[in-house]
Subunit: 585 residues, 2 copies
Amino acid sequence: MLQRYFPILEWGRTYNREVLTSDLMAAVIVTIMLIPQSLAYAMLAGLPPVVGLYASIMPLIAYAIFGTSRTLAVGPVAVVSLMTASAAGAVAVPGTAEYLEAAITLAALSGVMLAVLGLLRLGFLANLLSHPVISGFISASGILIATSQLKHILGVKVSGETWPEMLAGLAGKIGEVNLPTLAIGIPATLFLFWVRKGLKPLLVRLGMGARAADMAAKAGPVVAVAVSILAVIGFGLQGKGVSIVGAIPQGLPPFAVPSTDLALIEALWVPALLISIIGFVESVSVAQTLAAKRRQRIAPDQELIGLGASNIASALSGGYPVTGGFARSVVNFDAGAQTPAAGAFTAVGIALASLFLTPLLFNLPDATLAATIIVAVLSLVDLKTPGRLWAYSKADFAAHAATIAVTLLAGVEMGVIAGVGVGLLLYLWRASRPHAAIVGRVPGTEHFRNIERHKVLTLPHLLSIRIDESLTYLNARWLEEYVLEQVAERPALRHVVLMASAVNAIDASGLESLEAINHRLEDAGVKLHLSEVKGPVMDRLQRTHFLDDLSGRVFLSQDQAFAELANDTGEEAGEADPMLARGLI
Amino acid sequence: MLQRYFPILEWGRTYNREVLTSDLMAAVIVTIMLIPQSLAYAMLAGLPPVVGLYASIMPLIAYAIFGTSRTLAVGPVAVVSLMTASAAGAVAVPGTAEYLEAAITLAALSGVMLAVLGLLRLGFLANLLSHPVISGFISASGILIATSQLKHILGVKVSGETWPEMLAGLAGKIGEVNLPTLAIGIPATLFLFWVRKGLKPLLVRLGMGARAADMAAKAGPVVAVAVSILAVIGFGLQGKGVSIVGAIPQGLPPFAVPSTDLALIEALWVPALLISIIGFVESVSVAQTLAAKRRQRIAPDQELIGLGASNIASALSGGYPVTGGFARSVVNFDAGAQTPAAGAFTAVGIALASLFLTPLLFNLPDATLAATIIVAVLSLVDLKTPGRLWAYSKADFAAHAATIAVTLLAGVEMGVIAGVGVGLLLYLWRASRPHAAIVGRVPGTEHFRNIERHKVLTLPHLLSIRIDESLTYLNARWLEEYVLEQVAERPALRHVVLMASAVNAIDASGLESLEAINHRLEDAGVKLHLSEVKGPVMDRLQRTHFLDDLSGRVFLSQDQAFAELANDTGEEAGEADPMLARGLI
């Protein structure tokens, strides 16, 4: 029990020197990767760079205690940073104490929500985000984020949360571009693109192993950071209008108390919930992918608790919302991390950086950070999915396209909400129109098949309907309409048999619809029968009055129903072909 | 086409003298029943009595043109009146012009929403209200309405929208009870109860036919109205603190223009949507019940248009939201109405009443109207359903109980929202955990059954999983977790076969999960196979790269998969029993 809520008790017991070496090695590589990323994502979130470092210390330790993935690396990530900027920007001005307080409160709210969802085992709510919606959201967020960073590359001031706003803002400022900034931003961007695409093949050609080359390529941003700092110092660019990071406070994260201001909490709870769900979905997908590679398992509900603890830790140490990141987790995994202790060691690395390294970053230009963000997020933009979805399923394409359009035009929060809404609407629409078939007997057999696909035998006074779905409240009304419509079309009808071989469950609404159908058919002089009812469904029905009130009978098989009802035409007895009754035709 | 949107064109063509006689007869009886009801429900909605009459004229004519039910009687109903009071009360004070404007605007908004839902064929959204939720909502509304009317019986002034507020208000005013009012209210209530329960049997015993006795009993409220008007006049009760209806403007409904104030519309659109959905669900259930008795059909999407037109007509003629009422529709049906023309004739009856009858109603005491409401709504309270639901399904019981509790404690709007929310949550929870079974071969046969229920044959290197549900985004994550968990438990595994005999569809998320499972199993050295994939599902899969990327194969039958994979243990060839491969064991 204790082990379930504290996975550290499980892996901690078998921790040894060998695992320690692997974890330390991975931690060093992830730390090097995470320092520029933390600064960049904090900038994206509209926060001081140091907040990004703070968000990369305590959350990692909390996850090491509570998380179930062995290799997930948590911290600030691009999409959640954008969502933080959007939510905090709605209640305060970037750069103010209120803005920082809003970001910390978002982390606290999100942490509490994630932990509560985990304790209540409500992880299934993340299912509401379908793959097409997530993919559309991530692509659109990538475009939004990259566009939002162009101002740092161009050295102009632009605000706006939606794509049209940003583009219009950039277009209006095109005359004010700061050339020294551009002279840093463009080479940095091109260099980082090359590092991503061209460096690894080059290193491999130079004789480096593929994995080592991959690792080395991850250090590209550090090189860009170092070179651009030297350029700012060497050419005195700060005096020429190049915006730099400036003084970053040295020291460990402070103890912060999230706001208890109810008005602020009321304004932030919806974005906090969306951040929680998006963060969880992103994190759990990464964790599952990596766990499966080593045949390990993660526990999604405990992952909620782990991410909740991370966000609470982030809030208490002056950070902002965090989650498991894709790129850094893959690096952590590839570098050989064996346990979440690697995350704790990374935290120590970042802590050392914030103690000793920050003065070196004074002259780091914002343009370089923007370049690292742009190169990182453009890989999130998935151009293949729309075409694939269009070919596979128009409904899924619609959900995908709606999510992209709303995210770009109305911002990230509306984008998630619209995506969930459209997805759910399409699902409910389909769920309310399940498949059913009028069936008849395949001559000479005991099989009953769809009359539209097979040449089968039917009788004018007997209608057999096979329902290919559980009866729930979503399709209860459809069931009534469908059955009554079929009956209204057949004046000679005397018996309706519902073939329930594919009905796995009947909820109270489904039962009530069956009762209504039974009564309405009775009023119209038609008997209702059931056939092939599954055991568990029958057990439930027997707890009700339905079977007593049923005008007809429950047959074990459709064949038996057909045989026994074939002669009861309501006309003179003996008129129907006796061969039918014996199933010989 | 035209006939679809104007059902009057269909039944109008065959209209003749005989049908006219039936319709006129029904219209007279419904008119007599509707006059006191209209006044009473307007009072419940917090509106002047005449508004109730206005809402019973033009809406009936609009429904006669656009509605598809032959016997539905529209007009003000109890639950919608309560919801109107709640929504209008939130933006204005009862008795003011703003309050009336809010009620008219609600009718206009609701009318437009219903018509748009109908034109977009979105009637399925009403499915979101499950039977347990509707039943809980109606019961709780009945209790709320009856309690809200007690103040008129006691002759005190009390406000409050929730049950605790009302009860506390009544308790605080218990010393101020007006005895003359009570002297009218209590006998009127008892009389109306007796009319409902005891009059019909008495008339039948006196030799009247059962149906005629039923009709006569419906005139009970008219008797109560007449007697109490005479009592007020005879004993001069108006001077003794008995609240009366007072002057009702004589004449036909005015032409009214709904508000175009955006702030008002923003405040009212959510309640208008809830009123629309509740009204539609109530109306369509009644219409379906009655149509089925005569083997007629209604078209739910066109019903939305019919009710939309009724509400727009109500708004344009100074009325408030209307819908099809249960009691009056049954009376209309039993009195022999054949076509919606009966509704139009009822409208003429009410119009005549509002032209000539209103002066007679001057002395009608509010207590009598309250008594008619109380007696009518208490029949809505359903005491049997909670027990039945508890026995049948705890989940449905939970949705029912939550709806009742929230409606009583937080009002009608929150009640509907909570009911839909809880129902959807439970549905999604179940949908995200579909049924699946590990299957093995029943020895000596080609059948594969659940290993937990049958004694079957399995192999350590081969895992067969039968999925009993379509693969959608709601269960995509479950599928990954389930399969990977099963694989993680079986170190000797080499092959996984997903038996898809019950998979009716695979959406894009399901497909992506299959792809993820395929890749993850491949990473772990396990091949993924499919068996018994349905035709339409296979057609779709063939449009993707999935089948090319699949590490294993697609087998026509599970038996074939078992036979062909039985020998591929990954160990020395020939070790597995060749008998297995040939399906002989």
